[in-house]
Symmetry: C2
Subunit: 399 residues, 2 copies
């Protein structure tokens, strides 16, 4: 396998700290991966990411397969060289994007037949094809093609989707062949049904994967349903393998999921919120367009030392945002991404020093206080709408 995982704190359940070694370097876990849908974390250069503690990014197989194409990326030296990113890259399987296509896709045992959101052309993603595409990218971690269970789904629907996900996982694993570099992760489906989730986890362990993802969450289920799934997973998945919660990630989500034994995260939230002018500070969310910041000479977060906070005031950022100046999207994205990386760093420190519960309580108290920014609870609701989506690249559909 192309990756090795060493857990140095924690076990099956509860918060864990570890290290994931990949062909492009090591990543300390728990870790958050910014989303570079089209081989670009929106508005940020690779230097911006490196300077703001990002150690691994996610890219979308669906988008890059359609444009510029996996064979082109391969010819150009692989995804890392293409996007000038020297550190690890995880690519998803395209399963979630294809699932989001709705009417534009048709699922069969063979795979998923779908129409490109760019030009309507028809394509078939099979488990084997999706492995081949990710091999061409040169991804450090690849994901199996899965069938994302919608919410709500009956037990029968969830069972069928989960069983197909397992059959596809087996085919994906077989398709890897002799490729020793590609680390392929399995994905647990099964909706909100405990026995289906557990059966899926066990099926995947039997096939054998170097890591396991939890999919099909953040699609509309209740918070407590979501957390229950994570708890069942912690009990079933092997302690020694990395666990990746796909596509979810408000700061509150991250803290809750780390508490339940998750190691890896990705979400469009920090960058998308940045572009929408919702900024994260340690004392809560801040809407930069609010008139209260018009004459505010402070940085976004006085406790932050990101490029934006070292150089620009709230007053100026607000002006840029109202004037729709391109610079603001970079500055706010950098800030939000750094907030996430610093949060993960503090989470790791707390786990190492056996103070995670205290850290978690203190962080959430300050972050959700209706204090200075006073947007804690209100905005957390809004964020729900953003979870588990890849960055939008078309107005036609949400992919």
């Amino acid at each position: 396998m192309g990756v090795t995982f060493t857990l140095h704190k924690g076990g099956e359940t509860g918060p864990r700290a570890g290290r994931l070694a990949t062909p492009h370097g090591c990543v300390e876990t728990p870790t958050f991966m910014p989303v570079g849908t089209q081989a670009s974390v929106k508005a940020c250069s690779s230097e911006d990411l490196l300077e703001h503690k990002v150690t691994m990014v996610l890219a979308n197989t669906y988008h890059l397969y359609l444009r510029p194409g996996h064979r082109r990326i391969e010819r150009l030296g692989g995804l890392h060289r293409f996007m000038n990113w020297p550190k690890p890259v995880l690519t998803d399987s395209g399963g979630y994007q294809v699932y989001s296509l709705g009417e534009l896709r048709k699922i069969s045992e063979e795979g998923v037949l779908f129409q490109s959101h760019l030009d309507g052309s028809e394509h078939l993603f099979t488990p084997e094809k999706v492995v081949e595409v990710q091999q061409a990218f040169g991804s450090d971690i690849a994901m199996v093609l899965d069938e994302c269970t919608p919410y709500p789904a009956t037990y029968e629907e969830a069972r069928e989707g989960m069983e197909r996900t397992l059959r596809w996982a087996k085919r994906s694993r077989d398709a890897c062949g002799e490729d020793g570099e590609l680390a392929l992760f399995g994905i647990v489906q099964g909706g909100v049904y405990p026995d289906l989730r557990k059966a899926c986890a066990e099926g995947l362990m039997e096939i054998g994967f170097p890591g396991f993802a939890v999919g099909g969450l953040g699609v509309g289920e209740e918070k407590n349903e979501c957390l229950s799934v994570l708890e069942w997973m912690a009990e079933r998945l092997p302690a020694a393998s990395p666990r990746y919660l796909m596509g979810m990630g408000t700061p509150e989500d991250l803290v809750a999921a780390v508490a339940r034994g998750m190691d890896m995260f990705d979400c469009v939230l920090p960058t998308r919120n940045g572009r929408n002018g919702t900024l994260f500070t340690h004392s809560g969310r801040l809407r930069i367009k609010n008139s209260r910041y018009a004459d505010d000479l402070r940085p976004i977060d006085p406790d932050c030392d990101c490029y934006t906070c070292r150089n620009y005031t709230r007053a100026y950022l607000r002006h840029l945002f109202l004037a729709k100046e391109l610079l603001v999207y970079r500055l706010t994205s950098i800030h939000n991404l750094y907030f996430y990386q610093v949060l993960m760093e503090r989470i790791r420190e707390a786990i190492e020093t056996d103070t995670f519960p205290e850290f978690s309580r203190a962080f959430l108290r300050r972050f959700n206080a209706s204090g200075e920014e006073g947007l804690g609870r209100e905005m957390a609701q809004e964020d729900r709408g953003f979870s588990n989506q890849s960055e939008k690249s078309s107005k036609k559909i949400q992919v």
Copy 2:
């Protein structure tokens, strides 16, 4: 006066090299100022500008007066602090933007009554008001309110506009009062009529300004008409004062205007072209969306050492451009701005070493050759449409 100009090569006519000292540092001339319409050179941070040899920027009085307002900028510590730009800033008078408003403005002897393109609110720019606004900004160089002569214009129309420009220039000069920091430049109008241009220059010299701008060019006149105006100006304007050609600037324009004794330039062309995917290289213009670059691993210009060329390939930039990824607008803008700054640096070196004619011929030969990129002549035509406009901030009007 807030600025001093030292000419150390050349005189009345022909290319000149000098140094402009301002309250925010020195600028070597001939110099090119990127346009920061709304207190932001589109898509670039101040660090990007500093790292790419930019020494002075232009900001637009019209836009900043409307949003965020000159009193707000003053409260926030002035324009330099507001936009985190430590080097000199020149602000225009808003005259050209108001002129572009067409139906939305009414000119009287008092000043220009206009409607905001943002919200339709009514405002009056008088010569005195425009000085006051620029004083509030803390501009290193301010421009007088002028009446831009349209093209074509009859002799009578051009004469009336020129005479009003002179009367307004006197009022502007008087309005400066005791402000020793504000260097106010006069603007020569008079259309394409030699005696009007000369009379305007002489009238401005009589009032007394530390620098002179040539306005009303790049508005539709023929190339040879434009160059004739510059030649008349070189003969009339005092050798010891800086001369600023407003709003024009293809690379060919810059070389031609330097040859005719101009010292300062601004234009939206490098940044706007960057955002449109037209990139400058020393061997000509390059349209990054062209399919020929799809597999091209070279930087935009192998002779360039800007951030973009040091880190990204044509193939990747093309992908970002087609995918409308925000990152590309920064990367292409940085490249084009640096191309301009390097061009000005080479122009200055050539003047210092008495080799400007040879440099100019060699530069134009290579730049306009229908060589590798083969877009020289064709694109130069397209550029004409871009000259002399401030960066568009609204679809409603071109301001």
